[in-house]
């Protein structure tokens, strides 16, 4: 049995993931993430419902994941389980996603290394395949993006971004 601890970089703990001219990636920790599914899920939250490329303007919003599923970010505390009255399935996912903020003029250039995500191609949902993994990608302001991956993928995303910048950073 091999010991692969050297083969895989130890996970970084610094929330400032990357910083280069015109490009910043930071890890942020939302107060609460709640997964809500149901026939009426997209109408179940009082928070603004965010698809692509809707702009997130505050700390509280709901990302549209599917036809019948949203992810509340910074929403109210909800009792997990099946809410029979509202017809909603509710799970807390606060610790389930790693959330990154990407800011700067060159961010779109970096995202083009991960897949196609064009603001002029709208989509009701924010889920997509980027950098080879399932992510949630949404817009924050003019040149800012939010990028979420399941926690176990955080290190992969971080190292993917780092690899692109270290190899081709000057040309992105």
């Amino acid at each position: 049995m091999r010991d692969d601890r050297l083969k895989w970089d130890a996970p970084a703990s610094d929330p400032k993931v990357l910083a280069q001219d015109g490009l910043h990636v930071t890890r942020v920790r939302p107060t609460r993430l709640t997964l809500i599914s149901g026939v009426q899920a997209r109408r179940a939250s009082a928070l603004p419902l965010i698809g692509w490329p809707d702009q997130v303007t505050s700390e509280q919003f709901a990302l549209c994941l599917r036809r019948d599923r949203i992810l509340e970010v910074g929403g109210p505390d909800r009792l997990p389980g099946w809410d029979a009255e509202a017809g909603l399935a509710i799970s807390e996912m606060t610790d389930g996603y790693a959330m990154f903020h990407l800011d700067g003029d060159r961010t779109l250039g970096l995202l083009k290394r991960g897949g196609v995500a064009r603001p002029d191609q709208p989509s009701p949902s924010v889920v997509r395949l980027m950098f080879g993994m399932d992510v949630l990608l949404y817009c924050r302001g003019a040149s800012g993006f939010g990028l979420c991956v399941p926690g176990p993928r955080a290190e992969t995303l971080r190292s993917a971004l780092r690899a692109h910048l270290s190899q081709h950073g000057a040309e992105i």
């Binding site: 036809r67 897949g115 191609q121 709208p122 989509s123 009701p124 949902s125 889920v127 997509r128 395949l129």
Partner: protein
Amino acid sequence: MQLFPCPFCGDRDEREFHFAAEAGKSRPDTTGAVSDAEWATYLYAQRNDKGPVREVWVHLTCAELFVLERDSVTMAVLRATPLRQDPA
């Protein structure tokens, strides 16, 4: 790299999708008697048409199952409809 339409999310990279099955198959009621042949037909027999096909696909990223009509020769995408509305 093909572009497939998710009925909910819209056009996406083909790698976000997975071919599930040919459309129009229904599972025999296994609480009753099902012959070996019937079961094998359900499990294994395929139309495998050359040309226009109707298939069930999954948009992996949003987990939507839908019926995709496309041409298996030209790769032209003809129509995508959510499975739940599929009349067949």
